[in-house]
């Protein structure tokens, strides 16, 4: 498009494609290397190649603990799944609720409320985590002193606090996705359903929610991924083992050193997020 001269054109094409190849190398390269090294028998998680192995996934010799045989790692995976499931359910409910609030209702200060809704996504995760921590800490203290020790324990760092902390910003994401979809909804579809004999509640259930479904599923996948991979906020809010998610345990291990087992975990995460991400993209495509 930029030049009509063929020689120049081929030159600029080389430049454009070369640049894109470099960018792709930059974005995908490190992940590909990490992926490959998960199957290298070399214990230092580096080259040279010492043969293909699945030890880093499954093995329980003293010096080689595979990911699936690592009790603490597997329990973190379980915790992450549990946290992500609960966070996703709450965030989807909030997202649908907020979409109806911002698309269907009129009230004073709506624009301000909308800006406020974006807040949790804008504030750095560290600040969000610490503010929730200090708030729940003081509530838990007063609950303890009012109702006896332990009454506020669900607000101490742990499973529920991690869930609450993640919901704070994941719900913003689900709200954005579902609101965008609801804005595309032609309200006369709901009226048509009522005209054909439904109550308003039935019309919303049969028509509107069904219309929102692709966005809800897409948002659920995104919410699940966000929750599963979150570190910044979770770091402040997780306590004992029942709230140690995969990113938390990975971070603590990375500070001690790198083992190929972490590469194996990475492979697992890459494959599963790849599948989920692909699904989300698919659902977003069916949105149109």
């Amino acid at each position: 498009m930029f030049t009509t001269d063929n020689k120049l054109k081929s030159f600029s094409y080389w430049f454009y494609y070369g640049y894109i190849v470099l960018i792709l190398l930059f974005t995908a390269g490190p992940l590909i290397v990490t992926f490959i090294l998960a199957f290298n028998s070399n214990e230092s998680a580096s080259f040279p190649w010492q043969g293909f192995t699945l030890d880093w996934f499954s093995s329980s010799t003293p010096d080689r603990v595979g990911l699936f045989d690592d009790v603490r790692m597997m329990s973190a995976v379980g915790t992450s799944l549990k946290v992500a499931t609960v966070v996703t359910i709450i965030s989807i409910l909030l997202g649908v609720n907020n979409a109806f609030l911002f698309v269907r209702e009129k009230f004073v200060g709506k624009e301000f409320m909308y800006m406020l809704m974006l807040g949790p996504l804008v504030v750095p995760g560290v600040v969000l985590g610490t503010s929730i921590l200090s708030f729940t800490h003081s509530i838990a203290n007063s609950l303890d002193s009012a109702m006896g020790f332990g009454a506020g324990s669900f607000l101490r760092p742990g499973f529920w606090l991690v869930v609450f902390g993640q919901v704070s910003f994941v719900a913003t994401t689900t709200t954005l996705v579902i609101t965008a979809r609801l804005r595309k909804f032609d309200i006369s579809l709901e009226e048509a359903a009522m005209d054909l004999g439904t109550t308003q509640a039935q019309a919303i259930r049969l028509i509107t929610l069904r219309f929102l479904m692709p966005a809800v599923i897409g948002a659920a996948i995104v919410a699940f991924l966000f929750s599963f991979e979150n570190f910044n906020t979770t770091y402040f809010l997780s306590g004992a083992d029942n709230s140690t998610t995969v990113p938390i345990i990975l971070y603590s291990r990375l500070r001690f050193g790198i083992t190929p087992q972490i590469n194996a975990v990475s492979v697992l995460l890459m494959v599963s997020t790849g599948i989920l991400g692909g699904l989300a993209a698919l659902f977003q495509k069916s949105d149109d």
Partner: protein, 375 residues
């Protein structure tokens, strides 16, 4: 003979704050008729429809369907169904599921019974073999029919249609117009059709109610509406018309006719309202009712051809009247037949009108322009 009335609206009013969208409107829709509500955009016609369908509560007034008062009934309990402007077909369902939607809400029918009914009604709107298609996989005209079938399957006392043709392109609109009329005649269901498009209303309706600024202007069959407009607005909104402002009533000829004067040119006109000599009036003359002869002859007014716009079956000719003391121009619609005289720009011609039984000109008390319709 008294006609059965399917829809009756009495003193219907809708206000939003200071704004009156519908102002004290009353009319009856005879059973089995094609009834149109015609008005420019934002005239309140859609609001009337939405109140009857049950999506807006009226501020005042009564509404009856089949003799039963429907005020306060929710939309899903009213014996009427609505075909929406943008059709509002459910995009997540296929054709058959759209059509059986209402039946499924009612319950009490087996799946095969519902499908049989759906196929029947789809056959009646000439739509076969598309049952499994998604809504976005069928054409605009087919969508139109699905929307109508979806409502008709519930056997409503009256089918309300909110300009469903306006979404179609011109050619399809012309086709669907005739088809809709035939369908209504075949089904015998009362149709109440909302539109801003007078050609559609004139072509399809048994009765037309013209509404402007929330007020009912006239309720009449199309030919009456066209020839004998009851108000200044109807005369200017319905059909093409020449409009001459600020004439004077010279004398009253008989019960219906008066003679008016524009700068020395005298013309007979039907009185659209009660007039007396000396009244300042606006005159509306149908361009196709004017007789044009080459040369100078009597009776008639002479003029000079200023413009000729050829349009196939006819020409629209702009004539400047030379006998008038005030500048007067008039459009003449000249039908092309074997006997149509050949004329060209600059020719002197004689125009005459108002000599047949059909009124060519209508006179109303003068109104300033801004209240005109969209025409």
């Amino acid at each position: 003979m008294t006609q059965e009335i399917d829809v009756s609206v009495v003193n219907l009013t809708k206000r939003w704050g200071d704004f009156t969208a519908v102002n004290n409107v009353s009319f009856d829709v005879p059973k089995g008729s094609f009834f149109s509500v015609l008005g420019p955009s934002a005239s309140g016609k859609s609001t009337v429809l939405r109140m009857i369908a049950g999506f807006e509560p009226p501020t005042a007034g009564e509404m009856y369907i089949g003799g039963k008062r429907i005020n306060g009934l929710p939309a899903n309990k009213r014996p009427c169904n609505l075909v929406f402007q943008r059709l509002a077909l459910f995009p997540m369902m296929n054709v058959i599921d759209n059509v059986t939607f209402g039946l499924r809400r009612r319950g009490g029918l087996s799946k095969t019974e519902m499908e049989k009914m759906a196929n029947d009604v789809l056959a009646r709107v000439d739509l076969k073999g598309l049952n499994e298609r998604k809504i976005n996989q069928i054409s605009g005209g087919q969508q139109q029919r699905v929307a109508i079938a979806r409502s008709l399957i519930l056997d409503p006392t009256v089918l309300l249609l909110d300009e469903p043709l306006s979404a179609l392109d011109l050619k399809l609109r012309q086709e669907m117009k005739l088809e809709l009329k035939r369908l209504q005649a075949r089904m015998g269901t009362t149709f109440m059709y909302i539109t801003h498009d007078q050609t559609i209303a004139l072509a399809m309706s048994d009765t037309i109610a013209v509404i402007n600024f929330g007020k009912l202007e006239q309720v009449a069959p199309p030919d009456v509406l066209y020839r004998e407009p009851a108000t200044h607005f109807v005369a200017s909104f319905v059909g093409e018309n020449n409009r001459w402002d600020n004439g004077k009533v010279v004398k009253i000829v008989n019960d219906t006719t008066c003679q008016v004067d524009f700068g020395g040119i005298l013309s007979n006109a039907r009185m659209g309202e009660k007039l007396s000599p000396g009244d300042v009036i606006d005159l509306f003359i149908r361009p196709e009712m004017i007789l044009l002869k080459p040369g100078v002859s009597k009776p008639g007014s002479t003029g000079e051809i200023k413009e000729i716009n050829f349009d196939g079956s006819h020409s629209l000719i702009v004539v400047t009247l030379t006998e008038s003391k005030v500048p007067l121009e008039i459009n003449v619609k000249l039908q092309h037949t074997e006997e149509t005289p050949e004329v060209s720009v600059g020719d002197t011609v004689t125009l005459s009108w108002g000599r047949s039984l059909r009124p060519a000109a209508n006179a109303f008390l003068h109104i300033d322009r801004p209240s005109d319709g969209e025409e």
